[in-house]
């Protein structure tokens, strides 16, 4: 980074925002994209753009702004014929996570189940059941009719109910 003296207020705010929300936003991106590396690409590119527009974004809506950019980017990362800039996060204290294999297994199971959905269904499921947004809020965020959100959600739940990965979860945790 190099030294620039005292950080500007925007930098301080942005750093705090990223510190507080990065993990959750990365999780959303991971659920949407289905690939951790691509999720980092997407999130970090969106965050850079967000920083450039920082002062123009209402402080109360910054999280929603980034989340909307993530899900409305409509970029299909596995199909994109590109790579892009990606600052690589430094791994935190790995000793705090005793069971990486367990984490990877959970993630893979969910991702396999989500891969049965269309991209729209996937986004709706993530916003509805991870972000706990209402159908109306999802409709606004995705730029869809509320009925479209409702039907996409119903279709997605139908698929997930019969997904073998989630059937396993239900049996194990019930």
């Amino acid at each position: 980074m190099g030294s620039r003296g005292a950080a500007a207020p925007a930098e301080v705010e942005f750093t705090e925002f990223v510190s507080v929300h990065y993990d959750r936003l990365l999780h959303i991106a991971d659920l949407i994209v289905g690939d951790r590396g691509r999720a980092e690409d997407l999130l970090q590119t969106v965050l850079v753009r967000t920083f450039l527009r920082w002062s123009a974004i209402d402080a109360a809506h910054r999280f929603g702004y980034v989340r909307a950019a993530l899900v409305r980017g409509r970029i299909d990362w596995w199909r994109r014929l590109s790579s892009r800039e990606r600052p690589v996060p430094v791994a935190a204290d790995v000793h705090a996570v005793p069971d990486h294999a367990g984490l990877v297994a959970d993630r893979d199971m969910v991702q396999r189940a989500l891969s049965r959905l269309t991209r729209r269904e996937r986004a709706v499921v993530v916003l509805r059941y991870y972000e706990d947004l209402s159908e109306a809020a999802i409709a606004r965020e995705l730029g869809l009719a509320r009925g479209t959100v409702k039907s996409a959600c119903a279709r997605a739940l139908g698929k997930l109910r019969v997904a073998p990965e989630f059937a396993f979860v239900g049996e194990e945790r019930s």
């Binding site: 999780h27 690939d35 950019a69 590109s82 892009r84 430094v90 935190a92 984490l103 729209r120 979860v169």
Partner: protein, 365 residues
């Protein structure tokens, strides 16, 4: 899964923790700002220079491609204008693309990222007017020679990249747009994309202006995601326009007039020269061999640390491929993106291997 609560629990799986890279993101944003200011300054300079031109004080070097490149591209434009008609309704159009990218891959278990190369073969079927299917065959990522020793020393942590995928969305829920990679938020489905291609301006000035407007639109939800594999200074708007033109040339739905206009846009793009490696386009006719061993003409534009190359068949004016090649060895200690990658390394290459009508979705011959 029996209840939505179980779904909520499943979606909330634990991730390996990471330290948010806020500082690196801010540094990158500042670099992008500098580029934007330079662009604005250049635009301002051009505006000031315009009256001087009117008074006969033209700059030594005008805009547009180098003369030799412009001549070759204008000739290709003429060939393209008489080219075959695009895919029509009732037909199934099949394309096969080879793609390779170099990138840093972080192991699933976290820790240091390693430079890897991954190859993909993508097969696309467009059943006009509104059906499409994509298959992408992915080879496993391979650690680059320059990072191999470090990867072995780290215990050979498993590295995964995008997987092999078949996507057959039918006519609905097709979020992916054929041109979205380069143009961002262009349309919503195949039918609308075809309509868009049909109404694009075909004159070089109008077409270039449309592309520039599209590529510089920063409004939320549109071109938020950029494809640049390195610093923003290496992917200015002219480079984006160069690749957007390539994406449109690759579209089987593009009319001959549009394809001709795209070659003329390239002929008027500042800095475009013949050849991929020479410093003076006038010393070569740009003839080379592409990654599939085909005779090709190559034109290129260099921005920052990347040379952007476009290969085409000069006889048929069809696109054969594109590449992005490092022209310097990145030395920014804050930018780990290309650790170990040296000048001359192709960081991204696309080969358009097959493009033809077939009998049905899934058929390749």
């Amino acid at each position: 899964m029996r209840t939505v609560d179980e779904l909520r629990t499943a979606l909330d799986y634990r991730d390996a923790p990471v330290t948010p890279p806020a500082g690196a993101l801010i540094a990158r944003a500042h670099r992008r700002r500098v580029v934007r200011r330079r662009t604005l300054l250049a635009a301002g300079t051009a505006a000031v220079a315009a009256p001087a031109v009117a008074f006969g004080l033209a700059p030594v070097r005008g805009g547009g491609a180098r003369p030799a490149a412009a001549q070759v591209l204008d000739r290709a434009a003429g060939v393209a204008a008489g080219g075959p008609e695009p895919a029509r309704g009732g037909t199934v159009w099949f394309t096969e693309t080879g793609y390779e990218e170099l990138r840093l891959t972080t192991p699933e278990t976290g820790g240091r990222a390693f430079l890897t190369a991954q190859r993909f073969t993508t097969r696309v079927w467009l059943a006009l007017p509104d059906r499409q299917r994509y298959d992408q065959e992915a080879a496993p990522p391979a650690v680059a020679e320059s990072d191999l020793a470090a990867w072995v020393a780290a215990g050979r942590p498993p590295l995964t990249g995008p997987a092999t995928v078949t996507d057959d969305p039918g006519t609905k829920d097709t979020w992916q747009l054929l041109l979205d990679d380069e143009l961002g938020g262009t349309s919503a489905d195949l039918r609308r994309e075809a309509e868009l291609l049909g109404r694009l301006p075909t004159g070089p000035a109008g077409l270039a202006a449309w592309l520039r407007r599209r590529l510089t639109d920063d409004s939320a939800g549109r071109s938020l995601v950029q494809w640049c594999p390195i610093d923003a200074g290496s992917c200015g708007v002219d480079a984006k326009l160069f690749h957007a033109a390539a994406a449109l040339l690759a579209a089987p739905l593009a009319e001959p007039a549009l394809r001709s206009g795209l070659f003329r846009v390239l002929a008027r793009l500042p800095g475009v020269r013949l050849g991929g490696t020479t410093t003076d386009g006038t010393t070569t006719d740009g003839t080379t061999t592409d990654g599939a061993g085909r005779r090709a003409t190559v034109v290129s534009v260099t921005m920052g640390q990347l040379r952007h190359e476009l290969f085409f068949d000069p006889d048929r004016a069809t696109l054969l491929g594109t590449r992005q090649v490092l022209v310097t060895t990145p030395a920014d200690p804050d930018d780990p993106q290309w650790t170990g990658a040296v000048a001359g390394t192709a960081v991204r290459s696309v080969l358009y291997l097959r493009s033809r009508t077939v009998s049905a979705i899934g058929a390749t011959a």
